[in-house]
């Protein structure tokens, strides 16, 4: 029984939830004695006002597309993968090992290899929680949280004790060779006569993220495995009755999810830092949760939500730079978005459903 038309479910509810989150965020800004309108104006200028600003917004959005897709693929199988952070950390390790292993002559060779490394390491880090969930029934939320912390400790150990170049105090790997340098949007757009900021970190990984979005769409709605993932997510008994093997499906969903989270590292480690540092993920794995919830687990929605969060991230950095509003305001906004689009979904949905039911009865 659907009380509501599809557009209300897909557009209206997210918009109302988002407005509530925005309203409360404005109240927080008012509460600390700043002007919300001026803050929004500054964020728009700082995140969208120049190609330099867009370069940062798209750079952040690239991360969030990957982690958002990762969370949503798992959500389709009704698995809550909260371990994007750890999987992306390991993905960074994969990228670094690939980039440091060979003297890569050209990025076109290094990129596929590094992406493969990132995906494999990310998937491997998701594999153990996935197996424990599928075979032993251990709750995937708890195990993936634990694996986030284990990943942080592991990377800390490797960077301090193993990968750090001799004589360096910094817990990070050596700089990657020039052959692994990814073309930035400036390099990519120059042949078309479009002038794009040279300093901004957005790079070819953005296109990789778009390709991943299309691939996820094909996987979830146009492939046999995607059908099995969705069927399992809707009803496990029905899926088993239909001959779907739950263990295999859970494993695949989580491996793909982990691989997508790991791919994020191509953007941050290879595209921006060009070496592996501690905490290169910077919470993007968690933002993927907000992005997936807001994007209703659809690649198009994830893309739009990722752009929005990229805007918030870059705009928030500008706010922190020019005003007294700390960067953590973005964390508050992120929390409110998760709260309203995720946990308090029914608060918006229930009255709306009643409204639409009343409307349907009215004219008939």
């Amino acid at each position: 029984m659907s009380a509501m038309p599809k557009w209300a479910d897909l557009v209206l509810i997210p918009l109302i939830s988002l407005s509530l989150a925005a309203l409360l965020s404005a109240l927080v800004i008012l509460g600390i004695g700043e002007d919300p309108v001026a803050a929004v104006r500054m964020m728009v200028t700082g995140a969208l006002g120049s190609t330099y600003a867009w370069g940062y917004t798209l750079y952040y959005a690239t991360n969030f597309i990957f982690t958002g897709l990762a969370v949503s693929v798992a959500f389709h199988a009704r698995l809550f993968n909260i371990g994007g952070e750890g999987q992306a950390t390991l993905g960074g390790l994969g990228v670094a090992l690939v980039c440091l292993a060979l003297p890569w002559p050209h990025w076109a060779l290094a990129l596929p290899a590094a992406a493969l490394g990132a995906a494999l390491f990310g998937a491997a880090w998701a594999a153990i929680p996935a197996w424990l969930q599928a075979r032993r029934g251990s709750h995937i939320v708890i195990t993936t949280i634990m694996f986030n912390f284990i990943a942080a400790s592991l990377l800390n150990y490797l960077l301090v004790n193993v990968l750090r170049p001799v004589g360096s105090m910094d817990p990070s790997t050596a700089r990657f060779a020039d052959g692994t340098h990814l073309p930035t949007l400036h390099d990519l757009l120059a042949p078309f006569g479009i002038a794009f900021s040279k300093a901004a970190p957005a790079n070819i990984s953005f296109l990789l993220a778009l390709a991943a979005s299309v691939a996820v769409w094909l996987l979830i709605w146009r492939s046999r495995l995607g059908y099995e993932i969705r069927a399992l997510g809707h009803s496990e008994p029905a899926a088993i009755y239909a001959g779907i093997r739950p263990v295999r499906t859970v494993m695949w969903a989580m491996l793909i999810s982990g691989a997508l989270a790991g791919l994020m590292a191509v953007n941050t480690v290879m595209g921006e830092a060009e070496r592996l540092v501690l905490n290169s993920v910077e919470g993007a794995g968690f933002i993927g949760i907000a992005v997936a919830l807001m994007g209703r687990n659809h690649p198009v929605g994830v893309f739009l939500a990722a752009i929005l969060f990229g805007f918030l991230y870059q705009g928030g950095a500008e706010l922190a730079l020019w005003t007294d509003i700390p960067r953590e305001l973005i964390v508050v906004i992120q929390a409110l978005v998760i709260l309203f689009t995720g946990a308090l979904d029914n608060m918006v949905r229930m009255p709306l459903e009643r409204l639409f039911l009343a409307l349907q009865k009215g004219p008939a």
């Binding site: 600390i32 153990i128 251990s138 634990m146 592991l154 968690f286």
Partner: protein
């Protein structure tokens, strides 16, 4: 390791285990009633900030404690609203609460105190003082037991003793009172409780409120007893370690004490020794950091006795009509 060093390590184990124990008991009440709570971290952080900010302004640690409990219970109320009233996803609600606390505490601290997201350092009456138990100094010359009493048992802050007393108290409430029976039943089979004419929602709200209260104590302990003031993200994953301890203890109070003491010991060792030599093999500090999480995964995997959560955990209850 000589005896005085051992005592020092155990002493800091007690200090570090206390916030874990309080948060673990908090999670115990909530999860036993069928409400998953991964927002322990956020509630502790909010409580740490509220207590430190209030104690800094008023100079009274008691008002700080109250404010800490208030802040934590407000977030608990939010969790109840989304998880019980609006039947939302409890895990997502917990994630949101963690971020809300992580962001809001720093934003407010920066706005109120302008010290880069910290509160001013707490002095004198704005902090919990160590309590010397009776005869601690007189008994100190007694070999072995004297120093143990004087150093390890005596000389902690009030909240440490409160936390210790809360273990038998929780056991008694959960297993020897009518309320405790209902609370546990609501987490296993809410339909049966509903049939008996007891409100599932009210029982769960009560459990979530107790969880907020205990997280408030944990956070206040961090900011006003263990340390002197609030700093950005000062819980540092303790809420998740408490969650791990809860699973380790298989959702039982006495075992929670054991689990949090074990994890506190790991923290104390990691704090004191950077690298440990065990039979010629160097054990890096990161292993100690990761050990609570690794142990929890092993327990969850069911290789060392299976951890079975309350049966109705995570499921919103829809009353039949």
């Amino acid at each position: 390791m000589d005896f005085p060093t051992l005592l020092q390590v155990l002493d800091s184990t007690v200090r570090l285990a206390t916030p874990l124990l309080l948060a673990c008991l908090a999670g115990l009440f909530s999860e036993r009633s069928g409400i998953y709570d991964i927002g322990l971290e956020g509630k502790m952080l909010a409580a740490a900030f509220c207590s430190a900010a209030t104690a800094a302004v008023t100079g009274s640690v008691w008002l700080g404690l109250l404010a800490g409990i208030g802040g934590s219970m407000a977030l608990a109320g939010l969790h109840g609203l989304s998880a019980i009233t609006f039947r939302g996803n409890q895990l997502i609600s917990g994630v949101a609460i963690n971020f809300l606390a992580a962001g809001l505490t720093v934003v407010l601290a920066q706005d109120w105190f302008h010290q880069g997201g910290r509160t001013p350092s707490l002095l004198g009456g704005a902090r919990f003082e160590a309590i010397t138990l009776p005869f601690a100094e007189t008994l100190r010359p007694v070999p072995v037991l004297g120093p143990v009493y004087a150093e390890l048992i005596s000389g902690h802050t009030l909240l440490v003793y409160v936390a210790a007393l809360l273990v038998p108290a929780s056991w008694w409430v959960l297993y020897r009172t009518r309320f405790g029976l209902r609370l546990r039943a609501v987490g296993e089979n809410p339909e049966a409780v509903d049939t008996a004419g007891v409100s599932v929602q009210a029982t769960r709200y009560a459990a979530v409120a107790i969880c907020g209260l205990l997280c408030g104590l944990a956070g206040a302990y961090l900011a006003t007893a263990l340390q002197a003031g609030f700093s950005r993200d000062m819980t540092a994953g303790r809420g998740y370690i408490a969650l791990a301890a809860l699973i380790f203890a298989k959702w039982r109070p006495w075992q929670a004490l054991g689990a949090t003491l074990l994890f506190g010991l790991l923290q104390a060792i990691a704090l004191r020794y950077q690298n440990i030599e065990l039979g010629g093999v160097g054990l890096p500090v990161q292993v100690m950091d990761a050990l609570p999480y690794i142990l929890t995964v092993v327990i969850l995997a069911g290789f060392v006795g299976r951890a079975i959560p309350p049966r109705a955990g995570g499921e919103p209850y829809v009353k039949e009509r």
